[in-house]
C-alpha cells in the first residue's frame, strides 16, 4: 500500500511537471485529485480500513494529497492560470456609464468664494428682505424723496404698502446694511450678498433681477487706506492673481467721499487688451466712506465712528471668473449652460 502511494506520488508529480498547458494539467488533476481520481479513491477507502492502520496510512495519504495539491497549484500558476481567465474579456474602449452629477449655479459658487474670502477677514454674512420700504432703500441712505439722486436707481414699485407707504423691490443690498446697523452695535464688519432689482431694459450687461454683494466696515479708526487694503486683498484672492486696484472720484449719496474702483485687467495684467478696451483696467465696484447722515439715520454717533462701504455685481464677478458674455444666461435655466459648472 505504501509503495503504491509513493509510486502514485511520483507518477502524479511527473505528470504535473510535464503538463504543457492548463488543459493537460486539468487532465492530470482529474486522474489523481479529481472526484473520481486515484488518490481521492484511496482517501475514500480509508474508512474501511482497520483503525490501527488507518491512522498512519491516512496521515501519509493526506500528506501526499497536500504535496500534490501544492505542486498542482504552483504548476497552474506557471501555466498562467488566474481566477480572471475564467471570465470573458471586456472591451475597455466601450464608454463608461454616465453619472448624473448635480451642479451648483455659477452665482452660488461665486458667492461662496466671496463669502469665504471676506469671512477669513472677519466679515459676517448678513441678509435681508427683497421687498423693501422707501426708508430702508432710500431715505436712510441719504437719498431723500424729490432728490435727483433717486434717478440713479430705477425702481420697481409694488401695488402693496406698509404703513400707507408704497413698497418696492430693493435696488441694492444697502438696506441690509441699514437693518444690520440698527440691530448691532459697532464695530461692524459685514457683507450682504443677494438678489436685487432694477427697472431697466435687459441686454447682455443688464437684467431686471441680478445679484450684488455689498460690504460694510464701521469702527473708530477706519481710513481710506484700510479700504484699499481690504478690497485689494479680496480681488487678489478671488482672481488668484496679483491684482492692483485704483480709486477714482465718484458720487453716491450714502458715501463721502465716493469712489469708483477699477482693478487691473486680469486677462492682460494691465497691459491693455480687447477685454479691458485697451485701458488695462476694469471698472469693478462703487465704494466710499460711509456718509455721517447714514450713521445718524441708524442711531450711531458719527463723531466717533467712521467706516467704508462698497458694492459690486456678483453676476459681473461670475461673468469675469467664468468668461460668460451675457448676464441673461444666469437666469435662463438652460441646463446645457448650467451643467458646465
Amino acid at each position: 500500500m505504501e509503495n503504491n502511494l509513493k509510486t502514485l506520488k511520483n507518477t502524479a508529480e511527473k505528470g504535473i511537471k510535464q503538463a504543457k498547458n492548463l488543459k493537460d494539467l486539468d487532465g492530470v488533476f482529474r486522474l489523481y485529485l479529481g472526484r473520481k481520481g486515484e488518490l481521492t479513491g484511496i482517501l475514500r477507502s480509508l474508512k474501511d480500513m482497520p483503525s490501527k492502520e488507518r491512522s498512519a496510512f491516512g496521515k501519509e495519504a493526506n500528506e501526499v494529497r497536500q504535496v500534490l495539491q501544492e505542486a498542482f497549484d504552483s504548476r497552474q500558476k506557471e501555466l498562467g492560470w488566474s481566477n480572471e481567465t475564467q471570465e470573458g474579456s471586456i472591451d475597455v474602449t466601450a464608454p463608461g456609464q454616465k453619472i448624473q452629477a448635480g451642479h451648483l449655479h455659477p452665482i452660488t459658487q461665486t458667492r461662496r468664494k466671496v463669502e469665504e474670502i471676506f469671512g477669513s477677514m472677519g466679515f459676517v454674512v448678513a441678509d435681508g428682505p427683497e421687498v423693501e420700504d422707501e426708508w430702508h432703500n432710500f431715505d436712510a441712505l441719504n437719498i431723500p424723496a424729490g432728490h435727483p439722486a433717486r434717478d440713479l436707481w430705477d425702481t420697481f414699485w409694488l401695488k402693496a404698502e406698509i404703513n400707507k407707504k408704497p413698497l418696492l423691490l430693493r435696488t441694492h443690498t444697502s438696506p441690509v446694511q441699514i437693518r444690520y446697523m440698527q440691530e448691532h452695535k459697532p464695530p461692524i464688519r459685514i457683507i450682504a450678498p443677494g438678489r436685487t432689482f432694477r427697472y431697466e431694459a435687459t441686454d447682455a450687461g443688464h437684467e431686471i433681477n441680478f445679484y450684488q454683494v455689498e460690504g460694510l466696515m464701521i469702527d473708530e479708526n477706519i481710513s481710506v487706506a484700510n479700504f484699499k487694503a481690504v478690497i485689494q486683498e479680496f480681488f487678489k484672492r478671488f482672481f488668484e492673481k496679483d491684482v492692483t486696484i485704483r480709486l477714482r472720484p465718484s458720487y453716491f449719496p450714502f458715501t463721502e467721499p465716493s469712489f469708483e474702483v477699477d482693478i487691473s485687467c486680469v486677462l492682460c495684467e494691465g497691459k491693455g487688451c480687447s477685454s479691458c478696451e485697451h485701458t488695462g483696467w476694469f471698472e469693478m465696484l462703487g465704494a466710499g466712506m460711509v456718509h455721517p447722515k447714514v450713521l445718524k439715520a441708524v442711531g450711531y454717533n458719527p463723531k466717533n465712528l467712521r467706516g467704508f462701504a462698497f458694492g459690486m455685481g456678483m453676476d459681473r464677478l461670475a461673468m469675469m471668473k467664468y468668461k460668460i458674455p451675457d448676464v441673461r444666461m444666469f437666469f435662463a435655466s438652460d441646463l446645457k449652460f448650467l451643467k458646465q459648472f
Partner: protein, 677 residues
C-alpha cells in the same frame, strides 16, 4: 456733457495738456471722460460730470477751473461786464415773487433795442460742436452763457408781457401751458410758473412759454437768471417728463450768486451780437448766501485718508479749487467758494484733498481690528447644507426670475382668489414680469418645458424668495426640487435624504387636505400630493404637478416637485442638530411581507410594526409594493425590512424571533391583513 477742448483752453493759461492725457487725468482726479473725439481742428470730450457737481462743473469755465487745478495751471475767469442801467423808453417791468420759498434769487435785465439775427459763425460753430443747434443770436446767447458759466438763462420778448407784470408762483391743479416745444401741458399743483396778466408765460426753470417767446421781430427782451428750488424743478421734470439742460442744472441746485455773473456774461456777448441797452435791473435776493468755513487738521486728514499730508500741501491743493485757506500750525480753516454747494461737511473737504493729492498715493493698510471670528449666519448655514444635499442627490441648481407674467395666471390655473394674493408690480417692464412669483415651482416647470428637448430626465432645484399678499405682504425663502420621468416616491426619497442631511428625523407625509395654507391647490395633481409635516406643522408640499398644466406646456413626461419653507427647515435643523449616539451592538434584519386592502397606507403598517416591536425595532423600510395580476383584486402586497437592534446588548436569534413573531401576530390580528409566509 460734451466739452470743446478749444473752448476750455480759453480759461486755462498756457498750453493745456493734450486731450488724451487730459482725459486720463480728469478720470483719476475729477470725472470720468467717456470719449475723446476729433472734430475739425477741435477735440470734443464727453465728460460724465458727477451729479453732485452739476452746479459748478457742468459748464466750460467750471470744468476749466478743475482742469487748471489738476494740471497746476492758472485759471482765467470768463468775461464779466458790470451792467450800467441806461435811460430807455420802456415802461418798467414789475416782477412779484409769490413763491418765496422756491425762489431764493430772481434777477433779470430788461434790454431795449436788440436785433434778432443769425449768430456769428464762431458762436454757431462753438454751440454746434457741443451738440446745440443754433437758433438766433438772442436764444444762442442764453445757451452759450449756460455752457460757459453754468447759469441757466431764459429770455422773454418784453413786448409780449401783458401789463408789464410778472408773477412767479406755484401752479394750481389743472392749469394749462403751451411751451417752446410746441406741446400743451396740464399741470399738477406746486410747479413753478410765471404769469403775466391772467396767462402762464413760463414753466420756470424747465422751458419757456410759447406766448412770451422771442421771435425774429423781437425788439426788447428780458434776460432772466433766477435760482429755483431744486426739488420743485425736479418734480416738474419728473411729472411732465421734460428733460432740459437747464432743468438738470436747476434740479441739482445752483449758487444764487451765479445769476449776476451769468447776466454779465450775456451782456458781454450782446456787445458782439444783438446790441441793445440795459434799461432796468430787477434783483430780488432776500437772503444772501453766506460763505461756509470748514476746519480740518493734518492729523484728521491722516486718520481719515490714511496718509500724512502737510498743512502747506493741503493749502496748495485747496486754493486752486477756489477755497481760501488760512493755516495755523497743523490746523487749517477753509472758506468754501459759494458755487461749491456740494461742500458742506468736513468729509467733503477730505474728498477734495484726497482726490487732488491722488488716491493712488494712499497706501493700502490693513485695519487694526479685533481678531474676533465672524459669528455664523445660521440661516445661511442651513441653506448651504440643503444646496449641498441636493447637489449630492444629482440635482442642478437653477436661478429663475422673481417674476411671473399675466399669461402664467391662466397657464398655472390660478383661481380668482389665488390671483388676488399675487403681489403686482406697479411699473412692470413687460406683461411677462407683472407679478412677483408666489412659488418657485411655476418658473421651474417652465424650465422643464424649455429643457425637455435636450434632456430625457430633468433634475433641478432652486432656492429663493417667494411673495404673497393676503392683507400683509409676506416674503419667504423656499427650496424646491423638480424631477421628471420618475415616480413620486423617487422624489420623496430625495426629500428624505435632504431632511436626513439636516438631521430632521421626525418629518412625515400627510395626505393633502382640502385647504392647504401655503400652496395653491390647482398646481398639483390632487390625488398625488402630500403635505410634508414635522409634528403638526406643515413645512411644504410634495407631489405630481397637475396634468392640465403639463399639457398646456406640452410637457410629455411626468413632473414631480416639492417646495419646502427654508426658514422653517433652518429652525428645525438647528433644534435637531444634536449628536445622536449610535448603538455599538449589531443589528439583525428580518423581512415581513403582507397582503392588505388597497386603501391601507404604508404608514398604517409602519405604525403597527413599531407599536408591536417597541423600542427594539430600530427601523422599518418598505422595499416592495405591488398590486396587479398575481394579487387578489382589491388587495396589494407590501414587503418590509425590519431592523432590530438594542442599545444594551447583542440580540440573540431567539430574542429577535420572539419579537418578530409578536409583530406578525399583531399584524394578523387585523382581520383584513394577511402576513405571507
Amino acid at each position: 456733457m460734451l466739452f470743446s477742448y478749444s473752448w476750455l483752453s480759453e480759461y486755462v493759461k498756457g498750453t493745456m495738456l493734450k486731450p488724451d492725457k487730459l482725459a486720463d487725468l480728469l478720470s483719476l482726479r475729477s470725472f470720468e471722460v467717456e470719449g475723446v473725439e476729433k472734430k475739425g481742428s477741435d477735440w470734443i470730450l464727453d465728460i460724465d460730470v458727477l451729479p453732485n457737481r452739476a452746479h459748478d462743473a457742468l459748464n466750460h469755465s467750471g470744468m476749466a477751473r478743475e482742469i487748471a487745478a489738476i494740471t497746476q495751471k492758472e485759471f482765467i475767469p470768463f468775461v464779466q461786464k458790470k451792467a450800467k442801467v441806461e435811460k430807455g423808453s420802456l415802461k418798467p417791468l414789475k416782477v412779484t415773487i409769490q413763491a418765496k420759498a422756491q425762489v431764493p434769487r430772481y434777477i433779470s435785465y430788461v434790454i431795449e433795442g436788440i436785433k434778432v439775427e443769425p449768430s456769428p459763425k464762431w458762436m454757431r460753430d462753438r454751440l454746434e460742436s457741443v451738440g446745440i443747434n443754433s437758433i438766433n443770436n438772442i436764444v444762442d446767447i442764453t445757451n452759450y452763457v449756460m455752457l460757459e458759466t453754468g447759469q441757466p438763462l431764459h429770455v422773454f420778448d418784453y413786448d409780449t408781457i401783458r401789463d408789464q407784470k410778472m408773477l412767479v408762483r406755484l401752479s394750481k391743479k389743472g392749469e394749462k401751458i403751451e411751451i417752446l416745444d410746441g406741446k400743451n401741458y396740464t399741470l399738477a399743483p406746486g410747479l413753478l410758473v410765471i404769469e403775466d396778466k391772467g396767462r402762464l408765460i413760463d414753466l420756470a426753470g424747465v422751458m419757456g412759454g410759447k406766448l412770451s417767446a422771442v421771435s425774429n421781430t423781437t425788439k426788447n427782451i428780458i434776460f432772466q437768471a433766477a435760482n429755483f428750488d431744486p426739488s420743485t424743478i425736479y418734480k416738474a421734470r419728473k411729472e411732465l417728463g421734460i428733460i432740459t439742460e437747464a432743468s438738470t442744472i436747476y434740479a441739482s441746485g445752483i449758487d444764487s450768486n451765479l445769476g449776476e455773473a451769468g447776466l454779465e456774461a450775456a451782456l458781454s456777448l450782446l456787445k458782439k451780437t444783438g446790441g441793445g441797452k440795459v434799461v432796468q435791473i430787477i434783483d430780488i435776493y432776500p437772503k444772501k448766501e453766506t460763505s461756509r468755513k470748514l476746519n480740518v487738521s493734518v492729523s484728521e486728514v491722516e486718520e481719515f485718508l490714511g496718509v500724512k499730508i502737510s498743512a502747506a500741501e493741503i493749502q496748495r491743493i485747496l486754493t486752486p479749487l477756489g477755497f481760501s485757506v488760512s493755516k495755523k500750525g497743523d490746523s487749517l480753516s477753509a472758506t468754501v467758494p459759494s458755487r461749491r454747494i456740494d461742500v458742506s461737511i468736513v468729509e467733503d473737504i477730505m474728498e477734495e484733498i484726497g482726490r487732488m493729492y491722488g488716491y493712488e498715493k494712499i497706501p493700502a493698510v490693513f485695519p487694526s481690528a479685533s481678531l474676533l471670528p465672524p459669528e455664523p449666519n445660521l440661516d445661511l448655514f442651513w441653506q448651504e447644507r440643503v444646496r449641498n444635499s441636493l447637489l449630492e442627490a444629482g440635482f442642478t441648481e437653477v436661478y429663475s426670475y422673481s417674476f411671473i407674467g399675466e399669461k402664467d395666471k391662466e397657464l398655472f390655473q390660478y383661481s380668482l382668489k389665488d390671483a388676488k394674493t399675487l403681489v403686482e408690480v406697479t411699473n412692470p417692464t413687460s406683461q411677462d414680469f407683472k407679478y412677483l412669483r408666489s412659488t418657485l415651482i411655476e418658473n421651474m416647470t417652465k424650465a422643464v418645458e424649455k429643457n425637455q428637448k435636450n434632456f430625457s430626465k430633468i433634475k433641478i432645484f432652486e432656492m429663493g424668495k417667494v411673495f404673497s399678499n393676503k392683507n400683509t405682504l409676506k416674503e419667504r425663502t423656499m427650496v424646491s426640487g423638480v424631477l421628471t420621468a420618475e415616480e413620486f416616491y423617487v422624489l420623496k426619497g430625495v426629500v428624505d435624504f435632504m431632511l436626513e442631511r439636516l438631521g430632521i428625523s421626525d418629518a412625515w407625509y400627510d395626505e393633502h387636505k382640502a385647504t392647504p395654507e401655503q400652496s395653491r391647490v390647482s398646481l398639483w395633481n390632487s390625488k398625488r400630493v402630500a403635505e410634508i409635516k414635522v409634528g403638526q406643522e406643515e413645512i411644504g408640499f410634495l407631489g405630481e404637478v397637475s396634468k392640465g398644466i403639463l399639457s398646456k406646456l406640452k410637457i410629455t413626461e411626468k413632473v414631480v416637485a416639492f417646495q419646502i419653507d427654508m426658514d422653517k427647515l433652518a429652525t428645525l435643523a438647528s433644534e435637531e442638530s444634536e449628536w445622536q449616539p449610535t448603538s455599538k451592538y449589531p443589528a439583525v434584519i428580518r423581512d415581513i411581507a403582507l397582503l392588505v386592502p388597497q386603501d391601507v397606507k404604508v404608514v398604517d403598517v409602519l405604525n403597527a410594526v413599531n407599536s408591536a416591536g417597541a423600542k427594539l425595532v430600530r427601523d422599518v423600510d418598505l422595499f416592495d409594493m405591488y398590486e396587479g395580476k398575481e394579487i387578489e383584486a382589491g388587495m396589494k402586497s407590501m414587503a418590509f425590512h425590519v431592523i432590530y437592534q438594542s442599545d444594551e446588548k447583542t440580540l440573540t436569534g431567539k430574542e429577535v424571533d420572539a419579537i418578530h413573531l409578536k409583530i406578525i401576530k399583531s399584524l394578523n390580528d387585523n382581520p383584513s391583513w394577511e402576513v405571507r409566509e
